[in-house]
Amino acid sequence: MKILVCISKVPDTTAKISFTDNNTAFNTSGVQFIMNPYDEWYALVRAVELTEDGKGETTVINVGPAANDAIIRKGLAIGADKAVRVDAEPKSTHQVAEEIANYAKDKGFDLILTGKETIDYNGSELGAMVAEMLDQPYVSYATHMEVEGTTASIKRDIEGGVELLEVDLPAVVSAAKGMAEQRIPNMRGIMMAKRKPLETVPASAGAEHVAVKSYELPAAKGSVNLIDAENMDELVRLLHEEAKVI
């Protein structure tokens, strides 16, 4: 089985978010970047579980500049067999999807996995776009997946419940919490990652239809209104009369 895992580079979850250039660009100064947790913890680890010990091959793909190689090597250290970086500055999900679909279209992957969303733009649309470009089925929010022949059995989260389904491969699947357990790369993995192939391919995507015009930070909250622990009637009154939420 051949699996392609799409990995994205995002600011660390504890990063302080600020903007530059008159609030038109994310301020990367002092920000630590990491592999998107959903891509790493769930999509990549499940792919490795399904292909390790000679059962198949996992390739990680990232669209980005050479500076992303550190994150790609981490993917190899976790257990991917090889890596591809499309040499382009990522500007939109559509562009990234097009680069991934262009790379994947003649490679015969049985599964393409992504995290359920990135923690920076939270778009959750990459998988659907790649699937459409390749004319494949797409299953989002998978929390459990087993593969038998050319069929994947998947459990997925829906609002207030769980859906159990089967999908014909090849398919695109986005992974959510529950799909796998996070793996910390060990020393052997890190050493082996240095010798695994990392191929760079040129950009090929076309024009874009969306652009971020500006960013803003949420208005600062006023100071908290502290209520005496013995006076919960007052809290209820404020929630009703002032906040008007009950």
Partner: protein, 319 residues
């Protein structure tokens, strides 16, 4: 030119988020000087009721059973072409997110997932606001293609029922064969799912033991609120993973979020800080969550929470 809204159903009824999407579409249509047309896929009870939320017409595609993104996205894209839509709207739900990108590719249209404001501008240059960085910031995103496709974040606009029915027109499109076979759907009955909940009671490690969860549930039941938890509580297996709110869990924006025994780590705040009103109950006056709260109670949760439940019961008895 029109605004097309895909109104999602669950067990044949329209979800609250679907009614919100129709209200959003009707308001966007009014500002664009056009009409709002709703699209319903599969069995639905009384599609005409969408007229009450601002749809001038309802297109109904019958004969589609379980959800498959290829089938649904094709139906929405075909309806958009048929109606000449310049804006296509859906809920930012598990279904909406599974088809938004597909529809954008099919229509060669720009997509904006998770908008939380009405569009400004006009077709060919429409701008939408949306939360980014897991709620730590907002962005204005411009769509330059003739068609824009967006999903609307829950609780962006309340559904507005102004009464009246819309004419329903049965339509049929050439749809691809489903490659997904849904075996079963299990829903938790009687509880509003977290992303749609207006009132949320959430608790963290301060509760100390899963056996102590009763007081949290009593408060939630009294308020008819949905329960949630912080990441350590979900990771410890005290509560199911789908209740975990925060940056790596579910991002929510209810009207009221009551955080009990949660210190307020930045990753937790990211998933909840767009809530309209935040109440924090914590015995540590230095807990960072108090800085993000509207109302705070410094005290032992085992003492404060039952008193709050009692106060709410008293208030409910009087109103």
């Amino acid at each position: 030119m029109a605004v097309l809204v895909f109104a999602e159903t669950a067990k044949n009824s329209f979800k609250k988020t679907a009614l919100e999407a129709v209200t959003y579409g009707a308001k966007a249509a009014a500002s664009l000087g056009t009409e709002c047309i709703a699209l319903v896929i599969g069995d639905a009870d009384n599609p005409a009721q969408l007229g009450a939320y601002g749809a001038s017409k309802v297109l109904h595609v019958g004969g589609v059973a379980a959800f498959d993104s290829q089938v649904y996205a094709t139906a929405v894209a075909e309806a958009a072409k048929q109606t000449g839509a310049s804006l296509v709207v859906m809920s930012h739900s598990s279904t909406g997110k599974s088809i938004l990108g597909r529809i954008g590719v099919k229509l060669d249209a720009g997509t904006v997932p998770g908008v939380n404001s009405l569009p400004s501008g006009s077709a060919g240059s429409m701008t939408f606001g949306k939360p980014v960085f897991s709620g730590k910031a907002f962005a204005q995103v411009e769509v330059s293609s003739p068609i824009a496709v967006v999903s609307v974040m829950g609780n962006t606009l309340p559904p507005e029922n102004t009464g009246g029915d819309a004419p329903v027109e049965a339509v049929s499109y050439t749809l691809p064969a489903a490659k997904i076979r849904v075996k079963s759907v299990e829903r938790v009955e009687g509880i509003t799912p977290l992303p749609e909940a207006e009132l949320v009671v959430s608790a963290g490690r301060g509760v100390k033991d899963p056996g102590n969860w009763g007081i949290i549930e009593q408060l939630a039941d009294t308020l008819h609120a949905t329960t949630a938890c912080s990441r350590p509580v979900a990771d410890a297996g005290w509560r199911p993973h789908h209740e975990h709110v925060g940056q790596t869990g579910v991002a929510i924006r209810p009207n009221l979020y009551i955080a009990i025994g949660i210190s307020g780590a930045i990753q937790h705040l990211a998933g909840v800080n767009n809530s309209k009103t935040i109440v924090v109950i914590n015995k540590d006056p230095e807990a960072p969550f108090f800085k993000a709260a509207d109302y705070g109670v410094v005290g032992d949760l085992f003492d404060v929470v039952p008193k709050l439940t009692e106060a709410i019961q008293k208030y409910q008895a009087q109103h």
